[in-house]
Symmetry: C2
Subunit: 525 residues, 2 copies
């Protein structure tokens, strides 16, 4: 900047003979100190090249030393890749957000409080902060950090883990399909503190992204509260969502549009399978809250599976399936959602098992049907030798009585049996349907129907910041040079910020530059 | 029994006018006390019918009051179904085992020490005790307890849970396939105390059963030590084994011949899918112990999945993936199996990530290669933008050096990448194979190959007692009458033991019967 002060300094440094008349603060003044005239000409020629390159928008070789200058050079940059050492990383990310850019934050050793603050800011301004400790992303067809080259396609990935995303993306490619976006969220995003801030943003964006047909989320197991919120949000997405939480006790293969994978390859296969199926497969039913859901089971294992499935999505499901005697007895009178195993010891003392005599089910059905807060009753009817010869005959009148008194209640029955069972499977089904029960042969389908009556989550706010995922991706890279080279190799317009000490270690020049007005330009030179 | 003492008692009771000359202790003496001659004749006629029925082998109506008499009446009975109240159940089961019969033990409230003792006896004499608290079994085509009518087929089931078995069996039937055997083991068999005694017997029997092509095991999660033994035994079975442990953190979709299902329907679908595939799919590789297995990973998620898979089958796999700092550092020097995440903070302080610079992998490879106890090294090579431009060029010479010094060592490499990655996937593979590494694109396959070098379990002792599963099933039922009726309905030859009080409540007769010699006959009458 040709300010008076700067010109005076240049004169003192013998870079300028005397101050230039008419030069002002908004002029750029270039001075070259060289041993030969030829060298000076070459230097000035090089400057002209760089200026031309800047005008043509291909500034891949010029390396400023600050983010601000880099963004000045490449104003169309919509992403900033940060891989400087952890102690500088949060500050650089903050600058990027302040400049209204999305951040890919590879650096680790960023304090969790910094992460929370950065993601809060990002959420407020509709930008994304991927990371810290985010190894991998594929955004608008461009790999950021460590990323494999995969064709574009209908699978949108969200991943807390870098090589998790890479393995799934590579496998999807090998299976002939492609990836719409792969959004890294960092290893701590699904912790209680960070609360899945980026995962939730990413899910809302992919939910609204017409190029994404299936969403995959890969992570270590989230904090239980975060998992519950994330799963509820995912349930409200009108697309299949594949979840792969390493070392997580999966509640079932499928809950509505949620598909639980158990390893990385499994996740890739499920995603490809779902993407190739019809698109309306994952559309969830209308999510209106109809009140508490009560499971009344005569089969212990069925009760247990129903409990696992419901607990994955609903908070505080009471049950007599485990816990101490007080908890068991308490479950019978719990006011919210609950699952009762009516075959449990404490309920069958001195009476036959409810599969032999369904009277116990009838009693509970009558009691629960009178509770106004209950909107859905889930029960099982198990056929076969040894069981009651005609359970529907005992249950149907009870179902009829309960439904006659309540038009806002639904009874969902899981019928377990075969067409060769002595009770006549179809006759049992008809008898129950006659009195208004909805009959299922799959426990999973029955639980899904129940969950559709209690779900309350939404797929997330309208996807503010969707342009973050739109091409062309233009980037500023600060830190690991390999990541810049990778962007260049992918044909991405990018500027690499050089974090070496100012003036390349030349002490005298460093002192002059430090004293020059306009620190930005000083760093840039 | 027409002993002198008994005849004297009958005379005293006016059932006999005087002792019969020539009647001996091994004669059966029948006396009828009736109000009319017609009634007496009818009673004697009924006795003749029962005797005839016994001779024809269709003694479904005559009801003795003890197991001993029942077995006397139906000596071909190979199974005893026990559903008397818990306090009598263990004693009845003991009698059945003493009589060399298999036991289906429906009763609950049997002490765990009794269960351990019963199963010990059963193991020693090559008999099965299914239960206590065993709701369901299908043996030799006959449903015991609660059971659905399903066609016979290639899927053998082992289940701790009754409705779990019923649901899977019904679903397999609905999918068009059938069940070879369904062996209930009771809810506590996979506890630490019982140690999977019946599950292990059942698995050995199904392993040796030519009619069984696929085995399914369904249960709540076993005690970790029991799980490890059971999985190791299942790994050695030359058939696919599907495992469904409710609420269990599955280590992967597939480990060799082990297939992990996450719900009941999933288990049924997997079993049908596997049964319809070629039979040699599940054949495990030769199980010879080649020494410790060491994982050296640059990808954290790959390390973590490898750790979960290995830990499911191997005891004490060390790792720096979790735990405190001491555990992390200890893992680097642990002498047995271990998995190291070389990208972890404590190993990359002040150095680039091993995906950027594989030198760290080279150093560990050299160190581990020198340990004589190590037989297998598992490593990952992750390609893509951002990663080292030619990792195989760095790793291959190191692999070559290690293998040159050791002919008993194998190096298994998982290659993650696509055919569009800048490193050239095929060239990377070739370079690594050239120097003797075995290269996989699936982590699961690489871990399987590693496990095949350390597995030591066998599929179980030769299946003593296999005749328990062979038709025809002939049964004595003691307890719940519905189970007897179910056997009759299935056309099974059976005797129901009547546990009502002796002499139907007639006090005088009860006293006489109690005093009669030969308590067995006394109870039987």
């Amino acid at each position: 900047m040709a300010t008076e002060a700067n010109q005076r300094l240049m004169v003192e440094s013998t870079l300028l003979r005397e101050p230039l008349a008419g030069a002002r603060a908004d002029d750029l003044l270039i001075a070259v100190s060289a041993e030969t005239g030829k060298a000076a000409e070459e230097a000035l020629g090089r400057f002209d090249e760089l200026i031309k390159g800047r005008r043509a928008g291909t500034v891949t070789e010029y390396r400023p030393k600050s983010l601000a200058v880099a963004l000045d050079l490449l104003p169309s940059a919509n992403w900033v890749l940060v891989s400087v050492p952890g102690r500088h990383a949060a500050e650089v990310a903050r600058q990027a957000l302040a400049a209204d850019r999305n951040v890919f934050l590879y650096s680790d050793n960023v304090a969790i409080a910094e992460e929370v603050a950065l993601k809060k800011t990002a959420g407020e301004c509709g930008r994304l902060v991927l990371g810290p400790d985010c190894g991998t992303a594929i955004v608008a067809g461009v790999g950021l950090g460590f990323a494999n080259r995969v064709r574009r396609g209908p699978v949108g990935l969200i991943g807390a883990s870098g090589t998790g995303l890479q393995t799934i993306a590579s496998r999807i490619h090998a299976l002939g399909l492609g990836v719409s976006q792969a959004i890294g969220i960092g290893g701590r995003d699904l912790s209680r503190e960070v609360g899945g801030a980026t995962a939730s943003q990413a899910l809302a964006l992919l939910a609204g992204d017409s190029a994404t047909g299936v969403v995959v989320i890969v992570s270590k197991p989230p904090h239980p509260e975060v998992a519950e919120r994330l799963l509820a949000q995912a349930r409200a997405v009108a697309k299949p969502v594949v979840l792969q939480f390493q070392g997580y006790a999966v509640p079932g293969r499928r809950l509505g549009n949620l598909h639980f994978a158990v390893d990385l390859e499994d996740a890739a296969h499920l995603a490809v399978e779902l993407a190739e199926r019809s698109a309306d497969d994952g559309a969830p039913e209308v999510a209106v809250d109809r009140g508490a859901l009560r499971g009344l089971f005569s089969g212990g294992t069925l009760a247990s599976e129903a409990y696992l499935r419901l607990s994955a999505l609903l908070p505080d499901v009471a049950s007599n399936l485990s816990g101490n005697q007080a908890a068991k007895l308490g479950a019978q009178a719990a006011p919210g959602h609950s699952v009762l195993d009516l075959g449990a010891d404490e309920l069958t003392l001195g009476r036959p098992h409810p599969m032999i005599d369904p009277e116990l089910v009838v009693e509970h059905l009558a009691r629960v049907g009178e509770e106004r807060g209950v909107g859905t009753i889930l029960l099982d009817v198990v056929l076969g030798d040894g069981a009651h010869p005609d359970p529907a005959a005992v249950l149907a009148p009870a179902v009829e009585r309960v439904l006659a008194a309540r038009d806002d209640l639904e009874i969902l029955a899981v019928l377990v049996g075969t067409d060769e069972d002595p009770q006549d499977l179809e006759a049992q089904r008809e008898r129950l349907e006659e009195v208004g029960a909805r009959v299922f042969t799959s426990l999973g389908a029955a639980v899904d129907a129940g969950l559709a009556r209690v779900a309350t989550a939404s797929a997330g706010r309208s996807p503010q910041g969707a342009e973050a995922l739109e091409p062309p991706l233009v980037a500023v890279n600060i830190g690991v040079e390999l990541f810049h080279e990778a962007l260049v190799a992918q044909g991405v317009e990018t500027v690499h910020v050089d974090w070496r000490p100012p003036a390349g270690g030349n002490e005298k020049l460093a002192r002059i530059l430090t004293r020059l007005e306009g620190s930005t330009m000083g760093q840039a030179k």
